[in-house]
């Protein structure tokens, strides 16, 4: 196999795609659609997993100061908690905002007519560096002077986390099943295209082409079609997720806006394309074997 042949075989792959235009379009569509569905589902699973984790992390520990305590004292407590090595993020909640939102929420249901002024104490929300050491951190905070009440959401957290973990496992299992389905669909499509060209393959053998000479352009075709289909799938997913993120940012309450899947869409598309190329190559390689037998 010399350089002249390499050039010819690559050229053959592109001519093959071009001349089998309808077949090529069909294969690309199949790859694009099945991988778009798989990719979107994977992103959904990753996204919901991330979302749940972030929501859980957000309210691990809530600290309340005595009612009527000054802002000065609240800031003092905040700085003390910040100094603890286990604390990651310490937020002093705004009393006014909380009260306003509470009133807004309760307005229609409960008559707040009797309450005047802001009855809420200062509150702090703390995320711990390690979710397993949350209760230890809570205990440390309880010893700080001027802290009235600490809720360690460890118990609820644990229960919610168990559910979240189960959902995560189910999600990834479903993604795995979908992955195999996708591979199956794509390799079937490859087998069909090759089946349509089995006479061509047979003729090539009869005029003295070695199996490698026949195989290389066909495998290259598989790689190119697989990668192209997957790139289209990546594009579809980027567009779709972009659209969804936009809608969410505009219409959803602030708390639910942070829905990023934590996946870079450029990188995701590239991995998808690589997976497509790989499936295309492997699928072609395996399927051709059957048609190379004489």
């Amino acid at each position: 196999m010399n350089l002249r042949n390499v050039e010819y075989l690559i050229q053959e792959a592109f001519i093959g795609i071009w001349r089998n235009g309808i077949m090529a379009v069909a294969s690309i569509s199949i790859v694009a659609l099945s991988m778009a569905i798989f990719g979107a589902f994977l992103l959904l699973v990753l996204g919901s997993h991330n979302f749940v984790e972030r929501q859980l992390a957000r309210f691990e520990i809530a600290v309340y100061l005595p009612v009527g305590e000054s802002r000065q004292k609240a800031i003092e407590v905040r700085d003390q908690i910040r100094a603890l090595p286990l604390a990651r993020k310490v937020t002093l909640m705004s009393r006014e905002k909380e009260w306003a939102s509470f009133k807004r929420r309760m307005n229609t249901e409960i008559d707040l007519g009797g309450v005047t002024g802001n009855p809420l104490p200062y509150a702090l929300h703390i995320e711990s560096k390690d979710s397993r050491k949350t209760s230890r951190l809570a205990d440390q905070i309880r010893h700080i002077n001027g802290v009235a009440h600490v809720t360690d959401s460890r118990e609820t957290y644990g229960r919610v986390k168990a559910v979240a973990d189960l959902v995560k496992i189910l999600g990834f299992a479903a993604a795995l099943v979908l992955c195999f389905t996708t591979i199956f669909i794509i390799s079937n499509a490859i087998r069909l295209t090759l089946f349509a060209r089995r006479h061509e393959i047979q003729i090539m053998q009869l005029v003295g082409a070695t199996n490698w000479f026949i195989r290389i352009p066909l495998v290259l075709e598989g790689i190119i079609l697989g990668a192209m289909g997957a790139l289209i799938a990546g594009g579809l997913i980027s567009l779709g997720s972009g659209y969804i993120v936009n809608v969410v940012q505009e219409r959803f309450p602030p708390l639910l806006r942070d829905i990023s899947s934590g996946v870079d869409s450029r990188q995701f598309s590239m991995s998808l394309a690589m997976a497509g190329a790989f499936i295309g190559a492997l699928g072609s390689f395996v399927s051709i074997r059957r048609f190379l037998r004489t």
Binding site: R4, N5, I15, H199, E200, V207, G208, A209, T210, F213
Partner: protein, 241 residues
Amino acid sequence: MIEFCSASLVYPNGVKALSDVNLRVGRGEFVFLVGPSGSGKSSLLKLIYRELFPSQGKVFVAGQDVTAIPRNAVPYLRRRIGVVFQDFKLLPQKTVWENLAFVLRVISVPRREIRKRISEALDLVGMIHRCDSFPAELSGGEQQRASIARALVNNPPILIADEPTGNLDPDTSWGIIQILSRINARGTTVFVATHDNQVVDRLMRRVVALDNGLIIRDQDRGMYHHVPEPESLCNSEPQEC
């Protein structure tokens, strides 16, 4: 050059296509293989380039037992045998030119050489003006001539032609047979299966007749139909074997 030693062929469906064929074609010979439709001509030729395997017996090409060569050596056997297939077998997605180029690419012929050889081969069969056509755009006779050009483009030492004049008018047929004769004169062994009695009778070359998978006649200077002349009986007498 080609030798059959008690070769038999039974198809998987039980059809007995060849029985106990013993035949020897020497280097540089020109042989017509005749016989009614279904007598086993194509089957016999397919044994030579190992499209088929004999059920019994052996087939030798250039002293090599083709029934014994490993699978990955088969392409190299086929490169030494040019075949004009009864159903042409042109690659449907390639133009006539590309069909010929494929055969040369397979054996790594340099590009400039490829151009030269293809032009020559297509010129020989009068197809140079249709070199950019796809097989589906050609008439039966044109496909046949393209197939002939492909069979001889890499100058194989053996040329096998299964009904090379099946779709051609008498004049073109005669032209094709003359091309085959000329190639034979250059030293190529030519083995032609045909129904074309005019061509066979006019050329008066060696004739092997098959009937029902059996060789029933093998004459040095034969006609399509058996003519029991005393002269031809004399001729067939001093045969080796």
